[in-house]
């Protein structure tokens, strides 16, 4: 257990000079446990392989019809020991939840239980083909169906589409359900209303589905302006996309009134479920009039982010939208047998209005088993505690920092699972980015930055419920020190990070002259 940093940074100290004792350069470029690793293409060889396979000659008597490869592909191999070392060294240049607090707002970087990993690797889940005959996949279908029921019960909704592969895919699924429902009643509408504070996927999704996107105004306290929204609603509006709790970390207290107004205008309510962790077990979106909401299993339900996927984004649907959900899905008969419902048997289940199919197979099974394991572990009681602890941790961070960091909506009541700050009061020309990069030297992954767009230099901090009080206190001590330095205009922060495997990287160069694949150098 670490204790909070008691040394205390003082504004007159110059961090860059005081704390860097880099010593003489090493021949290898390594620094003890910080090891440089070349590219696979610089250390591997096309004659090397780490797998023992027979040296079969394909040239004679094959059935390839003259299409066989002749030229080298250019894929170097490594032996097994070299492979283990290559990737182990690479892994050590990454930050992960296993290493420390990962306060990325709206991303819910919580602990990933290892039981989930063990279960996902059980042969009956991991080593089963999606097109096996029904009699050989009963347990897999039951697992999907059980998870579906958890999601329906936790959200108070009517149905769930399990196949979407990630949050944005789920958003798309929800909006396509809305469009299908409106088209089914012969009601062509053109506009989707999205708050300025929304995730970028919301407008991108609405635009893909053929809608024009318009902003919903917000009030000064960081919530949707109900009266302005009502004034904008009309026969041209298909849907309103709302994030609740919103990206300012606040619960939309008028949610029910918003839904009622939207429904009265003949439109539907899409809720971005990225922030469901704040309210799971405390309130059900279905009770607030939501028609569709995606659930990021990789956020609320602890499946690992894996360095950028795979995610999983089931979409819960209201009674009005359920008939339009995509195929396939699972259904349990009165006899208790779970069936896969696809194009050929959808009519048997009265599901004739599906808008189509979003992916080849049945969704992210490997994520389903992890999420179900997590839900079973917590139970209905534990999930409620998850939300409470997540919200308590965020408020603790908010009130421990709001004297040093500007909290634009600090007076709007308690935050939910994330605390939002802005850069007002920073000295010199220091920015949120500088503070974030200095967090790296303190041993933390930066928070979400410059999002939501409605706050200048936004810093969105989501500690999650899996952080202990001691871990939060240590984080707060670091953040207070960094905030003081930022207010004092400590120019050294512009150079941070100093202690990471790399200093700041030149993103302009990367975009101006893109080098996206390795090519042998001319030398």
């Amino acid at each position: 257990m670490n204790s909070p940093n008691q040394s205390g940074w003082k504004p007159e100290m110059n961090a860059s000079e005081d704390s860097i004792h880099s010593g003489p350069a090493t021949v290898s470029g390594n620094r003890a446990l910080m090891l440089e690793e070349p590219l696979l293409f610089e250390i591997g060889h096309i004659e090397t392989t780490g797998v023992d396979l027979p040296d079969t000659d394909i040239a004679v008597g094959n059935r390839l019809g003259g299409m066989e490869r002749s030229d080298p592909i250019g894929l170097p191999g490594l032996s097994e020991p070299e492979t283990i070392r290559h990737y182990t060294r690479l892994s050590r240049q990454n930050y992960g939840i296993d290493l420390g607090l990962f306060p990325l707002g709206s991303c819910t970087m919580k602990h990933n239980p290892r039981l989930n990993e063990k279960v996902a690797r059980m042969p009956g889940f991991a080593d089963v083909h999606p097109l096996q005959p029904a009699s050989t996949i009963r347990g897999a279908l039951e697992a999907i169906n059980e998870l579906a029921h958890w999601l329906i019960d936790l959200t108070g909704m009517h149905g769930v589409a399990m196949s979407p592969k990630a949050g944005a895919h789920g958003e798309l699924c929800g909006i396509l359900c809305i469009r299908a429902a409106l088209e089914a009643r012969g009601d062509a509408r053109e506009i989707v209303l999205v708050p300025e504070s929304a995730h970028g996927t919301n407008p991108a999704t609405a635009a893909f589905a053929g809608y024009r996107v318009e902003d919903i105004p917000a009030t000064d306290e960081g919530r949707v302006d109900l009266e302005a929204l009502k004034a904008r609603l009309g026969p041209d509006v298909a849907a309103v996309m709302i994030t609740n709790p919103n990206t300012c970390g606040l619960f939309e207290r008028d949610m029910k009134a918003i839904s009622d107004a939207v429904h009265e205008a003949g439109a539907l309510v899409y809720c971005d479920g990225a922030n469901f962790n704040a309210i799971v077990g405390k309130v059900r979106p279905g009770d607030l009039g939501v028609d569709a909401m995606h659930i990021n299993l990789h956020k609320t339900f602890s499946t690992p982010h894996g360095g950028g996927g795979p995610g999983s984004g089931p979409v819960v649907l209201s009674e009005a939208l359920s008939p339009y959900g995509p195929l396939p899905f699972t259904a349990r008969t009165k006899e208790g047998v779970v069936h896969l419902v696809e194009e050929e048997n959808a009519a048997d289940y009265g599901h004739t209005d599906a808008f189509g199919r979003m992916t080849a197979f049945h969704g992210q099974m490997g994520m389903f088993t992890r999420a179900l394991t997590y839900m079973r572990s917590h139970g209905a009681d534990g999930l409620r505690q998850v939300a409470e602890d997540a919200v308590l941790n965020a408020n603790y961070v908010l009130r421990s920092l709001d004297d040093l960091l500007d909290a634009p909506f600090g007076a709007s009541g308690p935050c939910m699972h994330e605390a939002l700050f802005g850069d007002e009061g920073f000295g010199g020309d220091l920015s949120t980015l500088d503070l974030a990069k200095a967090m790296i030297d303190e041993g933390y992954h930066p928070m979400t930055m410059y999002f939501p767009l409605v706050v200048h230099g936004a810093m969105l901090i989501e500690p999650t419920e899996t952080e202990s009080k001691a871990a939060l206190d240590q984080f707060i001590a670091s953040m207070r020190s960094l905030a003081e330095r930022a207010r004092a205009g400590d120019e050294s922060m512009k150079q941070a990070p100093f202690h990471a495997p790399r200093r700041r990287l030149d993103e302009t160069q990367a975009a101006r002259k893109p080098v996206l694949v390795w090519e042998p150098s001319d030398e």
């Binding site: 590219l39 066989e68 992960g96 239980p113 894996g306």
Partner: protein, 453 residues
Amino acid sequence: MRYLPLTDSDRGEMLAKVGASSIDDLFVDVPEDARLNGPIEGLPMHMSEMAVERHMRTLSKKNLAAADAPFFLGAGAYRHHIPASVDHLIQRGEFLTAYTPYQPEIAQGTLQMLFEFQTQVAKLYGCAVANASMYDGSTACWEAVAMASRVTRRKRVVLSGALHPHYAEVVKTMAKFTQDEIGDSLPALQAEPDNQGLITRIDDETSCVVVQYPDIFGRIPDLAEIAEAAHAKGALLIAVNTEPVALGAIKSPGELGADIVVGEGQALGVGLQFGGPYLGLFAVRDKKHVRQMPGRLCGETQDAEGKRGYVLTLSTREQHIRREKATSNICTNSGLCALAFNIHLTLLGEKGLRRLAAENHRLACIAADRLVQVPGVELLNGTFINEFTLRLGQNARAVVRKLADQGVLAGVSLGRLYPGVDGLSDGLLVAVTETTSEEDIETLASALEEALS
């Protein structure tokens, strides 16, 4: 609860700090009549690790795992031996529990891996550039169609009949919302792919032609003549590959003139997993199309001290910058699956991949030769690598079900893929990989013989 570190005394101290008398004070903005006062009814309460494991194991055991049966399924998902070190490495917490590498100073592990992955995919596909992966093959296929519309500014899409029917279904579903006009057809049971039939469907308004390679029946179409015909009309050729191991034996789609090459990468490193998560691969033959690509891209650059490093780049195409003007709404890739693919392909290397493809082909030839000796069974394919189509002379779906009851996973019937299409109902797709033993082939042959007699 084992995942929640706060103690009750912590909670008390923290509530005091935030000026709340109880946790309810923090949920004050949730309308009181909507607030739940206790755990949701009907759901179980928390369980010990052992109890959860027991429950999940019970479900797992109700499935027949591929390793426990002679196994011949393919059709877009393939079973290969995955070296033990792959799973060990992807479970390192620094990979498993990392986020999308938006902070490159502390994500060089993921970024360098993605750069290597992009290079491997580009080389395997014979392309200039590959992205950092997509959800899966079917969604990558749709994204390629959407990209072709952006590049050509045309909306007419020609799908080969021998494209995986689920992929075709995904494309048709998405096209309904983008007003792309999709032309598709059913495949015919014949020894060679119908390239000429496909070529006659291309006209001056065609944005792209989508061809699977090897196709859904396992046949190997000569993409070069289709590419030539497409290019002559100003259309793009999209090649779809669902079995990357096959590309260890046959020419790459890029080499044959495909403009966009997409596919499913699951066969390397990822495993069957009942259909997901899988790994969408996406590459373009010509660098000039890079800025029209969907998905994340990792690029090389330097840090402030001049050291080589990697960053996510060209993000001005993406939704978090461009919002409604983005090239796609996709906000993620399939990072950990890309890592598994990257490691598996590194272990194989070129030599291993070629040997693996050759071994798959050798066993598939043995299987095809043995199975056609079963009375009533005919081999459809003129060409194949590790998957081929048999005609059984009777409803193959019923035969597959019957064999499953005997513990033999015989393959994917065409009736499963094309329900209700009479002309295809006697077809059986059989995949053979290095995991198939000659004994498995013999078991299948005798079981088929019995079932068909």
